[in-house]
Amino acid sequence: MIEESRRSAGDNSGAAPYDFGGKWQPSDVELARRIERNNRNRRNMAIAALSSLIVLGALSILVVTSPGWKTLRDTFFDWAYGLEILPKVILGFTTNVLLTLIAGTIVAINGLVIALLRTSRSPALTPFRILATVYVDVFRGVPMLLVILLVGFGIPALQIKGLTNNVLILGTTAVIITYSAYVAEVIRSGILTVHPSQRAAARSLGLSHTQTLRYVVLPQALKRVTPPLLNDLVALIKDTGLVSILGVTDAIRAAQIQTSKTFNYTPYVIAALIFLAVTIPLTRLTDRSLRRSLERENAQGQA
């Protein structure tokens, strides 16, 4: 009981389990240590600043003094021109965003279904399990560019009535086909990392196979694969640019059109910056979610 009250006191205050009345003052030894630590930190910061200055400074001097710098600056970093075509590229980028949202949603559902099929053991699902395995093997192994070309030019060539010739829909379909295979594998690996003892506990409580999956396995699995899935989302945003080869006017295609008019490559740089404006925050979010999930796992390890 004493053990318990100490523990709960510790939980509430976040302080050490033993309280000596709050009269503690750091000793001279500790104070000296702190001064030494501060000095060392300051020295380290100065060294880091100096070395960054030297390396980055040298690099920029190298670039700026190179013989082609002036031409490069005029053809790639013409900011006035960049500003002029910015609305067009942004308009194109809305296609990338829309495509990401639609494809992302469908991929999440597909991926989950395929992962569940691959991990199921029901005899009735055997044909679907085989199909799911073949599907993942094939589309994880074929370059996405090829899938886009095959779907984008192959399906219209079939000339089946009722099938769309809309390149945007065909391109999105190709992206969905490929990413569903990736995402299914990520989710499946998450399902496999849930320890068998969790299933045993759930089954011993009388939960059916489906209930065990729904209430015990999937919540833990999905929480664990959130960081890699966010990573796939960042990749998806970038890869939606590939549908531009079918003629879809996305950010890349919009930049390409501008560039071909003037032979100035600034629109490409602008398009790159727009992609970065979205992907960098998302990457930071991914890092944070990964860190959180690691902290959670570690906390469990200590318990």
Partner: protein, 249 residues
């Protein structure tokens, strides 16, 4: 004597070519505790997992309340509703609070409404002195507290038979006592139990029947006094001597 709650006849279980349990026969009467002792790897955990149908047996029969639960067409989910199981490693669900862990089976399996399930759970939490932990996640609890939650999670389902699989093996000596005293309370309330344990003192206190399991066979059985004080078999004596050397007797 009335029909035993559990009766096992000539059970055999192997993993591949390794025979883990051989010729296991015993009965468990209502309100009694049958305790299995034996070295790690002697088959205690496997035996409990077989009773719970978590493992498929090679041969023999398991009868629960007069029903053969080892027959091929048995609905394992229905059988498990009558059984409670507590594991060595607690196996609480880390993504659910203590309360959610406890009411999962009542609400999802037994179809109890949420309010009644919570009311039942709070009664148990009060009894086990963990009311203030109801909304905590398991990883914030000590091992002893986690194991008591695991016991509650089984108890709320009012099992006909409770299976305890080395439930104190992952705990430090102080925490062992709080868990064992909870089990002793259950025993005095008449809960029917099959227990696998390394705690000889505890075994002596709760066992109506004590079985010494050695290499997958029940080598010696009877009252706790008989097996622990006057063992007939050389292997039992050696095992008890080693436990004594380790300071656990």
């Amino acid at each position: 004597m009335s029909t035993p709650v559990l009766s096992i006849e000539k059970l055999r279980k192997s993993f591949g070519s390794e025979v883990v349990l051989e010729d296991i026969s015993f009965t468990v009467q209502e309100h009694s505790a049958t305790v299995f002792i034996g070295a790690s790897g002697s088959g205690k955990s496997t035996l409990l997992r077989c009773i719970n149908l978590l493992e498929q047996i090679d041969d023999g029969t398991i009868t629960l309340d007069g029903e053969d639960i080892s027959r091929a067409d048995i609905d394992a989910d229905l059988v498990r509703r009558k059984l409670g199981m507590v594991f060595q490693s607690f196996n609480l669900f880390p993504h659910m609070t203590v309360l959610e862990n406890i009411i999962l089976a009542p609400t999802k399996v037994q179809g109890l409404d949420y309010e009644s399930a919570v009311a039942d759970a709070l009664v148990l939490l009060d009894r086990f002195g963990l009311r203030d932990k109801a909304d905590q996640y398991p990883d914030r609890l000590s091992g002893g507290q986690q194991q008591r939650v695991a016991i509650m999670r089984s108890l709320i389902r009012k099992p006909r038979l409770l299976l305890l699989d080395e439930i104190t093996s992952a705990l430090d000596p102080v925490l062992v006592n709080e868990v064992l005293s909870a089990v002793k309370d259950l025993k005095s309330e008449g809960m029917t139990m099959v227990i696998a344990t390394h705690e000889m003192g505890f075994a002596r206190q709760v066992a109506n029947e004590l079985c010494y399991l050695h290499d997958g066979r029940i080598l010696e059985w009877g009252s706790a006094e008989k097996v622990l004080e006057k063992p007939e078999k050389k292997e039992t004596r050696e095992f008890l001597y080693r436990v004594h050397q380790a300071g656990r007797l």
